[in-house]
């Protein structure tokens, strides 16, 4: 089961037209994702990583190429592909539990599944906040609501668009651990878009490095460090250095500082 391909991107192209100028957002993107895998897309702004995620979600259509989930071509949005937005995109007028239940109601399966709501509230550590409204909870909790809201639909694949971008580093580390736990529990396939190299290494089975103009996949790196990983462990740091070099961010030698 582990090696079964769940998602496949074949020669995907996407061009945006803005004010008469066309921008090649994605050019010939090819990727196979295995069931249960955790994939991260990293790259600088404008490299097309969010565009790729939106295409997989069906929020946007490719102009060339095809995307398949379980051998079925993706034409539009589907609750089988859950999506977690950058800022959570919670419904402000619904309580935490109603936000989580939103997908059940949207799919008209609320009555059959309402008993599962509490399970997802507990799983994401939101107990005690069932009746709170989004503006009453912290950013980290809001993202956990967004994740629970997507997971309750039993998605075959969870797409995460920089869900931790706006969080402080402690909340972020916490949420990363919870994400890994959720993945293990649900055996879900997850694709994460991030700016954060450490986050990508900590979470991913494979890291897809993308480069801009035109947005394309530059390299795919396997992360062979066994989970749970040690932040700042030797292998972790070596991979980190390797990745940063790819982005020309690592200086050749640490420059010693002298003070007189």
């Amino acid at each position: 089961m582990k090696d079964e391909t769940i998602l496949q991107l074949n020669h995907v192209d996407r061009v945006y037209e803005a004010d008469g100028i066309s921008v090649q957002a994605l050019s010939d993107v090819n990727l196979k994702v295995k069931r249960g895998e955790f994939i991260s897309f990293i790259g600088s702004s404008g490299c097309g990583k969010t565009t790729t995620l939106r295409l997989i979600a069906g929020l946007d259509q490719p102009q060339g190429g095809k995307i398949f989930l379980d051998g079925e071509e993706i034409k539009g949005t589907d609750p089988r592909r859950g999506y977690v937005f950058q800022q959570g995109a919670l419904f402000n007028w619904l309580t935490v539990e109603d936000n989580i239940a939103a997908g059940l109601k949207a799919r008209h399966v609320y009555q059959k599944n309402r008993h599962r709501i509490q399970e997802y509230i507990d799983m994401t550590g939101l107990s005690g906040f069932e009746k709170a409204y989004p503006h009453q909870i912290s950013g980290g909790m809001a993202q956990r609501v967004a994740i629970a809201r997507a997971l309750i639909n039993d998605p075959e694949i969870l797409l995460l668009d920089e869900p931790m971008g706006a969080l402080d580093s402690f909340t972020r580390a916490n949420l990363q651990d919870q994400l890994l736990e959720l993945q293990k529990k649900n055996n879900a396939t997850m694709i994460l878009v991030t700016h954060d190299v450490d986050e990508a290494i900590y979470l991913s089975d494979r890291i897809v490095i993308m480069t801009p103009r035109p947005g394309k996949i530059a390299q795919i790196i396997d992360v062979d460090i066994p989970k749970p990983r040690q932040r700042g462990g030797t292998e972790f740091l070596m991979l980190r250095r390797r990745l940063l070099e790819k982005f020309d961010l690592a200086s050749a030698d640490p420059q010693p500082e002298y003070t007189i």
């Binding site: 929020l59 949005t77 592909r81 995109a89 419904f91 007028w93 949207a106």
Partner: protein, 333 residues
């Protein structure tokens, strides 16, 4: 709160009204006017006795409110805060009584005292009551129909770009015209005066509600629709569970604006051609220079419109309870 402060607040609150009642009893009428007595249920009262009765009723009511509020931290704080205001209000009533009724220093009959105004209720309370009901009925028909049409068209305009293109300019122009400007047409084209006025209120409610509703629907963040789509929400879900809830704060702000317009339109329309209503009553009283009756009608309007506005506010804070704490609201709860 310091112990012993609360009883002082209760005494302060009711003492203004009691003072006004006592002075009304003690100070004689300067001009010798014989006051008429009226039958009130089973007793005969003249206007001064009736006025004193009302004052004492207020004092008793505030005393009981004081007892009830004693236990609750929040309402007892509010009670203490309002005590000086209540006292000054009572003193103000006394001054008004003194200048308006007792000494008639105020120009008569234009500025009658409180007892004279209350006399209208003794004279024709039933008639005032039936006119109040008539106004209320006009208002309810007009406002509810107008709100329904307004929210309906607002949703259509906000949701369908085509409808926006064709209907919004019409709304934009007609929305500026005060509804009463249509009165000549309304009165000639619509067979009954009642429905003519309902029509005017509908118009004055419809447009502001429709335009803010449309704004609220159209201004829904795109990401919320996308979230709904990825959760499996179809178009109906996106409209009824995303766009409309998102527009509700604007819809309510439109309703409260429209509410104020509706009061204005209601009273003006009643004054210009209705067989009933508080506006009609004012007109009737004016013809006979019974200005105390005009004030009585104004008093009823103040109460009626405050109650209606309060009901609307209550519905709003109930429906928009998720906003609580998000926006600054005057005293929570």
């Amino acid at each position: 709160m310091k112990k012993g402060k609360y009883p002082v607040a209760v005494i302060l609150t009711i003492s203004g009204y009691i003072l006004a009642a006592v002075l009304n009893l003690l100070i004689p009428q300067f001009a010798h006017i014989k006051t008429k007595s009226y039958r009130l249920f089973i007793i005969m009262v003249d206007r001064n006795e009736f006025y004193r009765g009302i004052l004492l009723l207020l004092a008793v009511a505030f005393f009981i409110l004081g007892l009830i509020s004693r236990k609750d931290e929040k309402s007892n704080g509010r009670y203490v805060k309002n005590a000086p205001l209540q006292f000054v209000l009572g003193c103000g009533l006394f001054l008004w009584d003194f200048l308006g009724t007792k000494t008639q220093i105020f120009v008569q009959p234009f500025f009658p005292g409180p007892a004279q105004i209350l006399e209208s209720f003794l004279q024709e309370g039933g008639f005032i009551f039936s006119n109040t009901l008539y106004s209320l009925r006009l208002y309810l028909f007009g406002f509810l129909l107008g709100a329904a049409f307004g929210i309906g068209t607002g949703i259509l305009i906000g949701w369908f770009p085509k409808v926006y293109y064709w209907v919004h300019p019409v709304l934009h122009i007609t929305g500026i015209i005060p509804a009463v400007a249509w009165m000549p047409f309304a009165l000639t084209l619509i067979p009954t005066a009642f429905w003519a006025t309902v029509f005017l209120i509908v118009i004055c409610v419809w447009f502001p509600v429709a335009s803010v509703t449309a704004q609220g629907i159209a201004g829904t963040p795109k990401v919320l629709f996308e979230a709904a789509r990825t959760l499996g929400g179809n178009t109906a879900y996106q409209l009824f569970h995303v766009a409309i809830p998102n527009a509700l704060p604007q819809i309510f702000s439109g309703l409260s604006t429209a509410n104020a317009f509706a009061f204005t339109t209601l009273v003006m329309a009643e004054m210009m051609g209705q067989p009933g209503g508080l506006g009609y009553y004012i007109n009737l009283a004016k013809v006979w220079s019974s200005y105390y009756k005009v004030f009585a009608a104004i008093l009823i309007m103040a109460i009626l419109f405050s109650v209606i506005t309060e009901v609307l506010n209550q519905i709003q804070s109930r429906v928009l309870r998720w906003q609580k704490g998000l926006l600054k609201t005057e005293d929570e709860g």
